[in-house]
Symmetry: C2
Subunit: 325 residues, 2 copies
């Protein structure tokens, strides 16, 4: 009920009468009044004018299921949303839900993670209310060997969503870090459970720093937030929705060919490494060269003086020679 | 205590005096007597002769932790054993334990699975007391792309263990079915949880039909058991131990090079497809040829009239042209 009323208030420019709400949802005036009060308690500013009805004046920056459902525009992502005030890690929780049968497109989101996960077992800082900490469950019928490309699809979606929302470039550092002014604003952690020829499920974890005003000493030189970059407070639920809309779009293009052939150009246009000198930290033989974009399989093309090399995700890390990127 | 006493009784040819047990384990006569009684209740036949002590006459065919620990010869597999009378699926349980931090080498084993898992979400029949239903947790530092080879390592270990124990050939149908007289006696289900360059954990599920006298109609033409093949009842805990001993041996060879180069010859010597005509059910273009063994990466080499082809696990299935194998 709360969600439906909120959605209607959002969609309406002026006032919605109590009568209209009662009829639309087939409930009593008291029920409407209760739901409106619950919304107010959650932080929504709702004006009530006699003979006119209710009007949504402002929305709080919260990530409740009602808030997220009322801004939802995607077709299959977020049919089920599992919201938590606190979780250990949204990836861990998403994996549990996936094992228990959660459908493709379910996502887990939390105001705070107390054991957020970074790559290779490292931690990920996720303070309450400051960012977007969420993980999507996917159950595609694809070759497990193609799954790592979903990380690049995700990077493209986040890059696009942040760039569109803020009007400021949020580029991709290959394969999947999102960068503003040379610092990381978003991390992506894709994990897969698979048999050798069959994907059980994939979880795509996305952590975006949104409202953070500062960072702990050990990461402040490499981390940034949308607020630090723009001095504006963006509404997180809206950014969540923009990310999933973009993801749905790009992911469906990916599924058509099970590779990135339909996304190479767009990915490259967001790639901060493009035409830059990079150092490829191959444990056997590090080398330098110029990054020339990605292949349809998601490899980074690096031209050295002698030859063209293809760098696979996972094999090595790549570092820009000038600055962090 | 029960486990320690059982181990000592097993290792001793004649009698072990009560006095010796008390001293060895630093406990009272009453404690020893209690433990002996528990073992008797579990089905162990233990003779007690005055002035001589205790002697193990026979052991029941059970898979309790005490039983398994008392026959254990492996170095790191089975330091922790999680035994259940019934589980949904040993793979599912092993994945949960792995997520919760269970160490490398832990295994889950059950007398019965009520939702046993086969490949690609299919079921796996696992009636109480009839077979070995178990899953090993591995946490190797390897490239996730190399993990599928562990399925072939497992097939080799099971093939060797059954062949040694029964004196009857238990061959491998590439990549990982174990076959006696043309029928399947064991299934292997390997599942992995991974980031794109990092293995969280791998679980190796092994289901061996041991005591089964018959099978349900829908699988009786393709399934067999050790009892059906040999008319003998093998002791399951002993076979478990033989499988893990063989696995430990072959797996360590695999880890040295992260491929099967050290195991190709032995694998091929167990391969029932070797030098046989096979049909490769490639969805794009099925073809026939002669199987010539595996490559160091675990691919099946198939010679057609025109050329040599390498078939990867996962891409296709392979069927013998004559009979099931």
């Amino acid at each position: 009920m709360k969600t439906e009323i909120l959605t209607l208030l959002r969609e309406t420019d002026g006032y919605v009468s109590g009568q209209e709400l009662c009829e639309k949802f087939g409930v009593s005036r008291t029920a409407v009044w209760k739901a409106i009060n619950q919304l107010k308690e959650a932080g929504y500013e709702i004006e009530a004018v006699q003979n006119k009805g209710y009007r949504l004046v402002s929305v709080p920056d919260i990530l409740s299921e009602s808030e997220l459902q009322s801004v939802r525009k995607t077709r299959w992502i977020g049919e089920k949303i599992a919201f938590f005030d606190v979780v250990d890690s949204t990836n861990t929780r998403a994996k549990q839900l996936a094992e228990e049968g959660a459908p493709n497109g379910t996502y887990v989101i939390a105001e705070r993670q107390d054991a957020g996960k970074g790559r290779r077992g490292r931690g990920f800082d996720s303070p309450a209310g400051q960012g977007i900490w969420m993980t999507l469950v996917l159950k595609p019928e694809i070759d497990p060997n193609h799954a790592s490309m979903i990380t690049l699809v995700t990077a493209l979606a986040v890059s696009k969503a942040i760039t569109d929302m803020t009007g400021r470039p949020a580029g991709i550092k290959w394969p999947n870090d999102i960068i503003m002014s040379g610092k990381k604003v978003c991390g992506i952690l894709t994990e897969m459970s698979a048999q050798f020829d069959y994907v059980n499920h994939i979880v795509v974890g996305i952590g975006v720093n949104v409202q953070n005003k500062s960072f702990p000493k050990d990461i402040e030189s490499v981390a940034t937030s949308l607020f630090i970059e723009t001095k504006e407070h963006y509404h997180r639920a809206e950014l969540v929705e923009r990310i999933w809309e973009a993801f749905e779009h790009y992911y469906e293009i990916f599924l058509q060919t099970e590779d990135l052939s339909g996304l190479v150009n767009e990915y490259n246009s967001h790639l901060v490494n493009m035409h830059q000198q990079v150092k490829v930290l191959d444990p056997k033989e590090p080398f330098e060269g110029k990054a020339m974009g990605i292949t349809p399989k998601g490899e980074l093309i690096v031209d050295t003086w002698e030859s063209r090399k293809l760098v696979s995700t996972g094999e090595v890390s790549v570092r820009g020679i000038y600055g962090y990127v």
